[in-house]
């Protein structure tokens, strides 16, 4: 059972606090993605799990055992580095078998495992080559193969796809998912790309500034972000935010964005938002919930009109940018329903999907 437990984990570099007291429980065979912007402490956390970085405070448990004092070589962990870190003086076969040879695994067993990993990764014909004779994608596979043959209790990935070109990245992403389905192991995957995190992980951990902002399934992160940061980080294109006033109306509450535009809050949310009435708030809505005029089933929708500033066709949809007071807002529209730039267009806002953020706490209420 390879569970991972981080308890009140701290890391200081001199005066800089890279990780500030995080707690996290990772289940056996779970795929967890640590995601966040550069410098948020995600890689440091991963390196502490690997034992490559000393812990300033707190505790790390792997499989129920505290490993604070255990050197990396005894943690039974495999890691795929961002820059692959292959051994340049060894062939692919030697690269993959290195860890097994160090651990004095019998030759036949090494052969079997390397062959098996090579089959999984489709690199059987590359085994005799040197790393410098491989392309970027092939090196990436070898780096993963090196981890797979070890059959470790925990797999760590440190932004493994960020050195690949866009097309290959998407391909390898699918492949990593397939591999995890075949080779059941606990995985901790660090990335700054929220799409990678969403597509791969069972659970996502969003980190910012050394602390965990939110932990949850990809769906939870998307539908119910708990902080302003998570709401802005998850989702592509990212959520629209606009300062607003929450005002009381005859029928309930409304979000007043500009002097002309007020959007009624759905009735089922009135009670939830009541305490924030008459306050300055931040209104959040994802582009996919601002569309061309259309009918939504439950009717909690508001129609607005605005002049189109910029169009970004994406094929299946077209992103439409328009001004809402001082803010520019992005909407996702049917390509056929789009007006020309400079012309007026009608939009429908699906208020069931709205978010309201209290700027004093940055929490989604």
């Amino acid at each position: 059972m390879a569970t991972i437990k981080l308890q009140n984990l701290w890391k200081h570099y001199g005066d800089v606090q890279a990780v500030r007291g995080i707690d996290l429980d990772i289940e056996h065979n779970e795929f967890v993605a640590l995601v966040g912007p550069s410098g948020c402490g995600k890689t440091t956390t991963l390196r502490m799990i690997a034992g490559l970085e000393d812990i300033t405070g707190g505790e790390i448990q792997i499989g129920g055992k505290t490993v604070n004092e255990v050197p990396p070589k005894d943690r039974d962990i495999a890691m795929v580095f961002q820059n692959y870190a292959l051994y340049p003086h060894m062939s692919v076969y030697q690269n993959m078998s290195f860890g097994l040879r160090i651990r004095k695994t019998p030759k036949a067993e090494i052969d079997r495992r390397v062959q098996n990993a090579a089959d999984i990764l489709n690199i059987g014909e590359l085994l005799e080559r040197r790393p410098k004779q491989l392309s970027g994608g092939q090196r990436q596979r070898v780096a993963m193969g090196r981890a797979i043959v070890r059959d470790p209790v925990v797999f760590l990935f440190d932004e493994p796809l960020s050195n690949l070109d866009a097309k290959l990245r998407v391909q390898m992403r699918t492949e990593i998912k397939k591999i995890h389905q075949r080779v059941q192991t606990t995985v901790v995957y660090v990335t700054h790309d929220q799409i990678e995190a969403m597509t791969l992980a069972d659970r996502i951990v969003v980190m910012n500034d050394g602390v965990i902002e939110q932990v949850g399934t990809p769906d939870e992160m998307y539908s119910n972000p708990r902080t302003h940061f998570v709401a802005s980080f998850i989702g592509s294109p990212s959520m629209n935010f606009a300062p607003c006033n929450l005002v009381k109306t005859a029928g309930g509450l409304a979000v007043r964005l500009t002097d002309d535009i007020s959007l009624n809050v759905p009735e089922d949310r009135t009670a939830r938002y009541e305490p924030f009435a008459d306050k300055e708030m931040i209104f959040g809505i994802r582009p996919e919930h601002v569309t061309e005029r259309r009918q939504h089933a439950n009717g909690a929708q508001q129609d607005i009109a605005a002049d189109v500033n910029v169009l970004e066709p994406m094929g299946i949809d077209t992103m439409v940018f328009f001004s809402l007071g001082p803010k520019e807002v992005c909407a996702r529209s049917e390509p056929s329903a789009v007006s020309n730039v400079g012309e007026s267009m009608g939009f429908t806002v699906n208020m069931d999907k709205m978010h309201l953020i209290d700027p004093s706490t940055d929490a989604v209420v």
Binding site: F81, N83, R103, K132
Partner: protein, 304 residues
């Protein structure tokens, strides 16, 4: 012919231009590049030319002021036979130099590798200060250092007789070789991606086994470079060898040639030059063999 026609291209004016024909401006540029090297080559190679040409002249020809010093009229081997029969050139000096150089290089490079790795990779209090100290040690001139070293050699000589043997040199050469090798390799180790080493730890290596199995194989060009330089430095060393050794049979090449082929104000020019020529050969051969390693990068393919 037909293949030529197929690869031929047509210029704007319609004439055929063979694809592999080098344009004139490119030839002119290449010529200019080589011309620029001529002054350098003249300075660098002229002394060697004089050494080589003088070593194959007979004594009469050298002393004949009527002959030009810049070329020889024939090939004489008398200078080389003189070295073999009248001096200890081959039987002692060459052998001593080989032993001293090889052993002190092995000692210096082994100690230097460990020191450089520690200074480049380990984090401990004062690591940077230590690195600078190594460099400063290297800067202390030999002409000052030999004075205290005489005391050291004498003190050791009281217990184990090392004075007037090549052991005194094997012991003292590393005092300037180790700081040099350490400094050189420190820079090289820093260029080796640390992730590769970390990967070795996760694969089950201790620090020492990661050093030998992963870091050193990647550092081979740097180590070759260290070997070449410390070999050359100790091969050419003159001062310590002059001070610590008086016995003719224990001398190294540089001192032996100087003390035995110059007697008072008499210079045995022919044999001196022959000795110089033979003395540089092993170094030239060594460079020839190791140059490929020295220039090739071995970390290619490790990252990205």
């Amino acid at each position: 012919m037909s293949s030529n026609d197929m690869t031929a291209m047509t210029t704007s004016s319609g004439e055929l231009l063979a694809e592999n024909k080098v344009p004139f401006w490119r030839l002119r540029k290449a010529f200019a590049n080589y011309v620029a090297l001529v002054p350098y080559l003249a300075f660098a190679l002229f002394p060697f030319y004089i050494i080589a040409i003088t070593s194959i002249k007979s004594k009469q020809e050298i002393n004949n002021l009527g002959e030009s010093p810049f070329w020889a009229t024939g090939i004489a081997v008398e200078n080389f036979t003189y070295l073999a029969t009248n001096t200890s050139f081959f039987e002692h000096w060459m052998v001593n130099t080989l032993i001293v150089t090889t052993v002190s290089t092995i000692i210096s490079v082994s100690v230097g590798i460990l020191a450089a790795y520690a200074l480049a990779r380990l984090k401990f209090r004062g690591v940077e200060l230590f690195g600078v100290a190594v460099f400063i040690t290297y800067l202390v001139p030999q002409t000052l250092l030999f004075l205290p070293l005489i005391n050291v050699v004498n003190a050791i000589d009281d217990v184990i007789p090392i004075r007037d043997t090549y052991w005194s040199l094997i012991l003292t050469y590393p005092t300037f070789l180790i700081p040099f090798v350490t400094w050189l390799l420190m820079g090289y180790f820093r260029t080796i991606p640390v992730e590769v080493e970390e990967c070795a730890y996760l694969d089950g290596c201790s620090r020492l086994s990661a050093l030998f199995r992963v870091v050193l194989p990647m550092a081979i060009p740097g180590i070759i470079c260290a070997i070449l330089f410390s070999y050359t430095l100790s091969w050419n060393e003159f001062l310590y060898a002059l001070v610590f050794i008086q016995d003719e049979h224990a001398k190294t090449l540089s001192v032996g040639v100087f003390t035995e082929l110059i007697r008072g104000d008499i210079y045995f020019w022919g044999s001196l030059m022959a000795a110089c020529l033979l003395g540089t050969l092993p170094i030239v051969i060594l460079y020839g063999f190791l140059m490929d390693y020295y220039t090739s990068g071995l970390t290619q393919g490790a990252i990205k």
